[in-house]
Structures are given as C-alpha cells and as structure tokens.
C-alpha cells in the first residue's frame, strides 16, 4: 500500500485516497471551437508514461481535497505532492 503525503494532512495510507488520473489536463477554452480529434484527445488520450508521472489524487476519506503527486510508475515511489495551484516541485 502506498503511503501518500497529503499536502494538508500529511502521510496517510493509500486506501484513504481516490486516484484521479493524469494531472494538468487542460480543458479546451472553447470546446465548440476544437475539432473532434482535439476534443477526443482531451477526453481520452493519456501519456501513460513508464517513469515519472504527474497525477491527481483526492483525499476522499480525509480532508476531501484534490492535490497533485509526482510518482515513478516503475518503482511506485512518490517524489512529492503539491497543491492544485502549485507547480510540480521537481
């Protein structure tokens, strides 16, 4: 089980959290202005990298807040977490 450092609550076990997928996906400003490929890209395409991954988590059974996390998808080691408005630490 991962030990995830919530930026507000500190380290807590993984089963207090809900995974939220890739972080920093930007919704097109005007969805009607983009074509189907770009919209499909936004909805469905993911980096799915082998290595460093910026991802969202929600401390569902804690403070309830969303935050971002840098994790290595090979070792599952967490390099750090940060609040939604902040830039990645590493």
């Amino acid at each position: 089980m991962l030990l995830i450092p919530c930026p507000w609550c500190g380290p807590r076990p993984e089963n207090e959290f809900r995974y939220g997928g890739q972080a920093h996906l930007a919704r097109p400003e005007d969805p009607a202005a983009v074509d189907d490929a770009a919209w499909g890209d936004y909805l469905y395409t993911r980096d799915n990298p082998k290595g460093r991954h910026a991802e969202r988590w929600r401390h569902l059974h804690g403070c309830g807040r969303f935050f971002n996390c840098i994790r290595d998808t090979v070792t599952d080691r967490i390099a750090g977490t940060y609040k939604p408005a902040e830039a990645p630490p590493i």
Partner: protein, 418 residues
Amino acid sequence: MAHLSKFSFLSLLRHGAGKAWSRQWRDAQPKAAYDVIIVGAGGHGLATAYYLAAEHGVRNVAVLDKGWLGGGNTGRNTTIIRSNYLRPESAALYEHALKLWEGLSRTLNYNVMYSPRGVLKLAHTHHEVQVEKRHIYANRLQGIDNEWLTPAEAAAFCPVLDVGERSRHPILGAALQRRGGVARHDAVAWAYARAASAYGVDIIQNCAVTAVTRDVSGAVTGVETTRGPIGAVRIGVAAAGHTSVVMAMAGVRMPLESFPLQALVSEPVKPVLPCVVMSNNVHAYVSQSDKGELVIGGGTDAYTSYSQAGGLYVSCETLAAILEMFPSFRRLRMLRNWGGIVDTTPDRSPIVGTTPVTGLYVNCGWGTGGFKATPGSGHVFAATIARDAPHPLAAPFSLDRFATGRLIDEAAAAAVAH
C-alpha cells in the same frame, strides 16, 4: 504444416518408450529485415504471427519480445474464456475467439487444454439480476449461449456455492455460459509459437524495441532493438501494458492507461469447484486448475503502474470477497500472488487496427480480459496487417473511435471481471 515433430498417439508411444522430445520452436536470431515485425511474444502477438503465416502466406515474420515468450500477461492471467459480452460488436469479436478456441488444439496439433466447464456469473442484488438478464437476452439475439439459473439451479451446477439466505451476499441467481471455461495459458503461447515457428516465423526473445524508425514520408522502416536494428515496412504492436511506451516511439499517443492486475493461486486441493465463478458485486472470480489450485483474481489496483506488483491489500480484499462466497475455502493457504500490467481503454473495449502512421498497426486495450480473446484477436489482427485494412470484426474497434465518439461501452461487462 511442416512440423518439427507432430504430436499423435503414435508419437506419444514412441517418446514414452524413451525417444527424447525435440525442441518445439526455434529460438531465432534476428535477421536484417522482415516483411512484418510483431512487437510482443505473448499469446496475441504469437497468434497474429501464426495466422499471418497460416492464412495469409506472410511467413517472413519476426515476433520480438523484451523478455521471454509468454512471460507477460499471457502467463499471468486467470485463463477465463467466455463470449457473453453486451454490445453486438464485442459479442461478435469474442464469439469469433470462442469458436476458434473450440478447435484450437486440433488446429495447432497441441493440447491447449481448453475446458468448457461453464462460467457462472453471480447476481447478488436486484440490479445485478436485471443487468445479467439483459446480457442473456442480448446474447440470445446474437446467437450466443447464456442462460439464467435460479439459486437452486446454480447450487446444483456448482454445489460448493453457498446459496443460503443468511449469506452476507445472497445469491439471487446466476448467468451461465456453458461454452465458457478455461484453457492452459502457457500452452496457448507454446502452441502458437510452435506452429508459427514451423512456418518459418522467427521468435526473438530478450530483444527489447527501443525505437521505431520512419522514412521522410512518415512510414515505418523498422525498429531499433537491444539486439540491433531490424527492418520492416509493417509493424504490429501487441505489447499489452507497454503499448503506450512502444507507440510513443512512433509518435502516437494512445487512449490507454496501464494498471497492475493481481492474481493468486492456492495450494492444490482435490476437485471442489467444477466451473468458473465470477461475481462483480464482491469483486472476485475463481476457478480450479487441473493441478487442483484455486486460481483467484479481482480488480485492478487504483493507480497506473508498470511495477507488476501492486498492493497486497488489493489481493487481501479479493480473498475476503472469495471467502464471503465460499466460507469453506477459509483454511486454504495461498501459494503465490503476482501482478500483470493491463492496458485499459476509456470504454473497456480493445483497439485493433490501423494507426495514423503508415505501416504501423496496433492491437491493445484488452484490459483485464485479453486472454479469452487470444485466437480471435490474433486472427483479425493478422488479417488487418496482411490487407492493410481492418478485418470486418475489428473495424468497430478502431483507434479513431475516440475521435468519432463511436465508443463500445463494455464497462458493465468488464469493470471488474472482464
């Protein structure tokens, strides 16, 4: 088929009398170029190579794998086979596979131990009863066997089930696909490898693809590997959990996320479970191998990962769910648990077809349930590569459905127990 050695009653007698068995396939060295390269020597990749050779006359084929043949999800799954999917596109594709399973041992002259012992899918709530009955009616319209059993009928079919009203998850009924069952996963990889190798296909192990090379027009020209460059104007990617990584080498981003999916086996015991039992509600599925081990699977881990491990608590939850259904399994010890990396799509349906890159084809997104599709997947993917156009059964599963919006939503069929 020009086999190295054909299996028959006579050959069994001869080898039983002391004649040594020969190698079943060639461990090939890479040549400079091939007509087709398949990336990934799992069941899907090997089946693709076999059907390219057997049905399309394309025999100058290499199957590359970064590890050993069948060492990824082919050797890590829980071997369940069924075709009772909801949508007509899926049902047609999985039924195509099931029909191939039924004759596969004979076709490949190798016993893949396909055992149609029945797949029983339990319903614990009224919602599940409705969903399962909807599946049954949809399947009947599609000509696929699937039938409803009352709790008493389910208990008669699978006596170890606790259908008592006092159970924590009461069984209100079950959907049964009698033609569903299991097969020996390793044997499937070996059988396709042996049959493909006999046609001249090169199976090249410990040969990781590190780059996809392309010409000025953008068309593929081959791959760079840890064993040197290999040329090919057609490349089929069947790399399961690593598909995003391989496709990124060709500049194609995929609608995929890779998750660990864990499984366990118990110590072997005498026959106790005559069929496959699945329950989406308690998040677990179980069957008994011919060796006597209970083969148990559950849901994926929550987060994307390539670690092939996953959290132990996920397996513990799966076991807790199994024990709710089968209290008599309480004293069994678990021998092993492990994880595989499954590539899941947003609609829980696979992607099989052409890509925006000329000469590059992809077969992925089978998620948590790819094993059952192995023969059908290889069959339609081979046709897609050979004709440079999607096989009719593969056409709905195109990559561009994520732009057109024509998704094939199998989340209900596949969310947990694919």
